[in-house]
């Protein structure tokens, strides 16, 4: 439940391989974008598939819905292109497909998930900046990593004695 693409901003090297993979998967359109700022690190950003998604709430035709993995998906046949989801999204995620006159957004690679595969961006990321899974499980792993790194650091700094009585 509640599986998401977790983005570890500190690991992103702004190589944009995720964008390339997403474009491949979605017919030339990337639903993950890497932003770079002169004074700041690079940041990859995609749909957060919010637990209480404003886009789902506001959609007048119920075109936006949640699938079994917890991903917020768009049913193209129901969408009327009213842009409301895009307006209420705090991250500016839903975009208008001006050719088909409907909205489009990250679907966490629904086709790939159906085959038991990971989202394309996660598969392609060379740096471990992107991971996919249950959010609380990912957090648990991160806590574990933090404690492990702290212990390793303490071992290195002899006499520092964080773990000694």
């Amino acid at each position: 439940m509640a599986k998401r693409v977790f983005i570890d901003f500190s690991r992103c090297i702004e190589c944009r391989a995720c964008e390339v993979a997403c474009e491949r998967e979605h017919g030339g359109r990337s639903f993950i974008s890497v932003f770079e700022w002169e004074e700041m690190a690079a940041m990859a950003m995609n749909c957060r598939h919010c637990e209480r998604a404003p886009c789902v709430e506001v959609c007048p035709t119920n075109a936006l819905y949640r699938d079994d993995d917890g991903a917020v998906l768009l049913a193209p046949q129901k969408c009327i292109g009213c842009l409301m989801c895009g307006i209420v999204c705090p991250f500016g995620i839903p975009e208008l497909d001006s050719l088909n006159k409907i909205m489009m957004k990250c679907d966490l690679c629904a086709d790939r998930r159906a085959e038991g595969k990971l989202p394309a961006c996660v598969e392609t990321c060379p740096t471990d900046a992107l991971s996919y899974g249950d959010f609380n499980e990912i957090q648990r792993r991160r806590r574990g990593r933090f404690t492990r790194e702290t212990i390793e650091l303490t071992k290195k700094a002899e006499g520092f004695g964080l773990l000694q009585p």
Binding site: I13, E14, C15, R16, A17, C18, E19, V20, A21, E23, R24, V34, E36, W37, E38, E39, M40, A41, E115, K117, A120, E123, T124, C125, P126, T127, D128
Partner: protein, 349 residues
């Protein structure tokens, strides 16, 4: 890092054989695409392990080693890709950075005859060195060679004795791109006492971005902006100091950045033991003599819309075509080239 992310299993074979020269991000993602179409792919690389700069250049704290290994191992185990490592494909004599591991040399034209199509993805493995006095001294390194040796030792392909012993020494890195930043950071991690970064423009023009430069400063790297090396001073054949000249910024040049102008009489010296040049790299195609493949004045291979070179059936992708770029850009270029190769192999245009 999965390269064959378009498919899961190996499709039925088409009977066509493709050679990919260079196992970096462009070559490997092209390989991933081609095996998903059922072609037999042989990958040639002069290094002892596939991965290219992702494994032998970019530090481990940026790209974890296991991610790259996972990727090429899947290509080998699941998709039957044959990797010819330690094998340099070339035509004509040329010495490049990373040649230490070459066990075997294969003639480029021989590859062309053996395979239905060839992809050149050999990247940019030669570093620029400033044409100043003293670059032949012991202790002067091209950045790529410096990083390459450190990563080779980490990967277990080279002994730590072959790494420049910078511990407790003074290191100066020239340049402010990603390679320069990585060379400076690795020097800090190896225990260099003082690390300097000399750049001829200011932090605002630094190709690696102000964020990365500021991180370096926090780690104790001394940032010397608006300086350019005038000469390297040696004693008994070894580097002892660098003479830097201060610059000011003038009018924008063709790249749109303000041109650095050296100031007469502003020279000063800094005592260093190592000088690392990270001022850019040039393409290293697998030929140094005329094989009928056109290159431009920067040495990049010229390709058409289909990523095909001036020789029918020989394609090129990645940094060897675009010049130094980024992992993602190389992946994209490799995928696009592979798509064209597939269409061409199937008899289309």
């Amino acid at each position: 890092m999965r390269f064959a992310f378009l498919c899961r299993d190996r499709p039925s074979p088409t009977g066509r054989k493709v050679a990919v020269i260079g196992a970096g991000p462009a070559g490997l993602s092209a390989t991933g695409y081609l095996v998903c179409q059922g072609h037999e792919v042989h990958v040639y690389d002069k290094l002892p392990e596939p991965g290219g700069l992702m494994l032998f250049g970019i530090p481990e704290f940026r790209i974890p080693i296991y991610r790259v290994r996972e990727g090429y191992e899947e290509l080998r185990e699941v998709f039957g890709v044959t990797f010819h490592t330690g094998t340099k494909v070339t035509f004509g004599e040329r010495k490049d950075e990373g040649d230490e591991f070459v066990k075997e040399t294969v003639d480029f034209n021989e590859i062309r005859e053996q395979f239905d199509a060839v992809l050149i993805a050999t990247g940019t493995w030669r570093s620029w060195i400033a044409s100043i006095e003293g670059t032949d001294l012991e202790g002067v390194y091209p950045a790529l060679e410096y990083l390459f040796r450190i990563k080779s030792a980490k990967l277990g392909h080279m002994s730590w004795n072959s790494i420049p012993p910078v511990q407790g020494k003074h290191v100066m890195v020239i340049g402010a791109g990603h390679t320069a930043v990585d060379a400076a950071l690795e020097s800090v991690l190896l225990g260099a006492e003082k690390v300097y970064l000399s750049y001829r423009r200011t932090i605002h023009e630094a190709p690696a971005g102000a964020y990365e430069i500021n991180l370096l400063k926090q780690k104790g790297v001394r940032w010397l902006e608006l300086t350019v090396p005038a000469r390297i001073i040696g004693e008994n054949g070894k580097v002892v100091a660098v003479e830097l000249q201060r610059c000011k910024l003038g009018e924008p040049d063709e790249s749109g950045r303000r041109r650095p102008i050296p100031i007469e009489g502003s020279n000063f010296q800094i005592d260093v033991d190592y000088v690392i040049f990270a001022i850019g790299q040039t393409p290293t195609p697998p030929f140094s003599e005329d094989v009928g493949i056109a290159t431009d004045r920067k040495g990049r291979i010229v390709v058409d819309m289909r990523h095909m070179t001036s020789v029918e059936g020989v394609f090129a992708a990645g940094d060897v075509v675009t010049g130094p770029s980024k992992v993602g850009k190389a992946v994209l270029d490799g995928l696009n080239a592979a798509e064209s190769m597939h269409i061409w192999l199937e008899g289309g245009e």
